[in-house]
Subunit: 346 residues, 2 copies
């Protein structure tokens, strides 16, 4: 293939995705409920039963560094990020296929640990790995996971039904994973204990499956996404698909106390991590006004913290951030990692 003329990089990530939408014209099939453009595709397989399918990849030195992630953690993480996509649709992950490309000098013990991590993470939701393929590669390890999940027509939550006046919620704390990565980079693995919360957020992301299912069942939630690219850009994905604007309040965004210290030694703005950091795998969702108590009850039952951080505005209003000092600025829909883009991320 020619690698000189106009390249994919020059077109830009979203130009590329638009191009794909044209090439992969949406099929007119009655059983395809959700195609390209959400956390997972949804296919009708019974009266009201839906099959969810998604895939996500972990490439060494692109999505992870092997020195910061033990093989067992890598295995768990590769599965967890896919379970998170299923959770964002309100579904339960069921089966996975694993496509792994492995360097020949990979230690056998590491191979075992990695697959044990995958198996254990699947088991957390009574799921199983049922196939896949192995290939050898020159250097960089990668694990590509194809995840199946299930839900029903009534409980399916997409990115596209946020409405003006809806409240915006987020689970857990955001920015911890990217800040944890910064800690690992600075301390090369032997990190001070005070940063454990951040480091663990990077190494052991917890998909919010139970919470996603309960939220979907509640009838209160209108749109949902998992935060993989970053709060700002993932909120923009909901707004784009729902054709609405949004306003969030910096003071309401749940962040770890330790992020400020990380921001200092990295000479970054503290808010870069929660707004643009990505890889949090928390749920970002919108809900009808007046349903705050329902959501609080679900959060308590699932033992997952949840915070209301803003509200949905009318179409064309854009994306806004009300800063701690009360000033209102345009929120840039950018993610931390400019080298990662997802066909489903619109």
């Amino acid at each position: 293939m020619k690698r000189t003329e106009k390249t994919i990089t020059r077109l830009g990530e979203f130009g590329l995705i638009d191009r794909l939408k044209t090439i992969l014209a949406a099929p007119r099939k009655s059983d395809l409920i959700i195609g390209i453009g959400d956390d997972a595709a949804a296919i009708k397989i019974g009266d009201n039963r839906l099959l969810l399918v998604t895939c996500d990849i972990q490439v060494e030195d692109v999505h992870f560094r092997s020195k910061f992630l033990a093989p067992y953690q890598l295995g768990k993480r590769a599965i967890a990020v896919n379970q998170s996509d299923i959770a964002a649709m309100g579904g339960i992950p069921t089966y996975a296929l694993v496509s792994a490309s492995l360097p020949e000098n990979l230690a056998l013990n590491d191979f075992n640990s990695m697959f044990q991590g995958m198996t254990d993470q699947m088991a957390e939701y009574k799921g199983h790995i049922i196939g896949g393929n192995l290939a050898r590669c020159d250097k960089k390890l990668f694990i590509d996971i194809f995840m199946l999940g299930k839900t029903n027509s009534k409980n399916l939550i997409t990115r596209s039904k946020a409405r003006p006046g809806n409240l915006i919620f987020v689970t857990g704390k955001v920015g911890s994973s990217s800040a944890g990565f910064a800690v690992l980079e600075k301390y090369h693995g032997s990190c001070p204990k005070k940063f454990s919360e951040l480091v663990l957020a990077h190494q052991k992301p917890q998909p919010r499956v139970k919470m996603g299912v309960e939220l979907a069942k509640s009838g209160a939630v209108t749109a949902m996404i998992d935060i993989s690219d970053g709060l700002a850009i993932d909120l923009d994905h909901i707004c784009g698909m729902s054709n609405v604007g949004a306003e969030i309040f910096q003071n309401e965004i749940p962040v770890s106390d330790m992020i400020e210290e990380v921001a200092k030694f990295r000479r970054k703005d503290k808010w870069d991590y929660p707004l643009y950091g990505g890889e949090d795998y928390e749920l970002l969702f919108t809900a009808k006004p007046g349903r705050e108590k329902t959501i609080a009850r679900i959060a308590a039952r699932c033992k997952v913290p949840v915070a209301a951080i803003g509200s949905i505005l009318h179409s064309g209003a854009g994306l806004w951030l009300v800063q701690s000092d009360g000033s209102r600025i345009h929120l840039e829909p950018r993610g931390w990692n400019h080298f990662s883009f997802n066909k489903n991320s619109r």
Copy 2:
């Protein structure tokens, strides 16, 4: 990860697969009909409806050379090899997810062509690409395809029900793809016209979907696999899963007339290509004796040549090749490409 101690290479491919079978213990789930160990996994989704799932990857310089395969062909091929796995179960491919890792200097036109190839190949069986993800990588392009398919409980064909006395059949000609690759390597793309059949077999494999479906419906076929690793090793996969032996006749194996010439300039044995070449994506299947006419009728209807090449022996009989001179030798269950192994290939 440590890359010094006992490595995956040292354990060997099949040792690795056995290890995986232990780690990924087969689930006791009533809806999982076929798990690891076949061309695709099968999940019950309705009264007798089955969902088939499989994945297969194309890695640059491992599975293909970009100088021998135009981007459009690469796209088609990546889809076709997965459709072939669905065909080997007697199923129809329906939807696919595409996970692609692309070098940043990939030409935009090549990107477009590649995805157009995928879309067109899906369309051959009225299928669609419904999601996936894109990531950037340093150098080597790869395309990992996750394919869904459908069949029903009655028509599902696996690798595990070949019985002694069954006849062994193969579609098309075998060895053409690997011989075609040898031609491309020698002539660097500007190949003499006489080798076109071989070169096309490598560049444009044709999954035998219609044939697979008809064979499955016929009730005559007992076991089936697609030839991805090579006739000898794929026959061994059927024998291993069915716990039987087999004997095939060299004179009956359908090969292209041009293979002899390729073997000559490559200083190889002519039979290396059909027996160990792989990537033919033809169907290898076993059928009850006395059903030869049924199979011939299906072949005629599908316009796909089919040949009876041997028969299934009792358990423990081993794998045998009756050579052109009448001598009977043990057939080694090896494939052409020792660097490729498949978790499903047992």
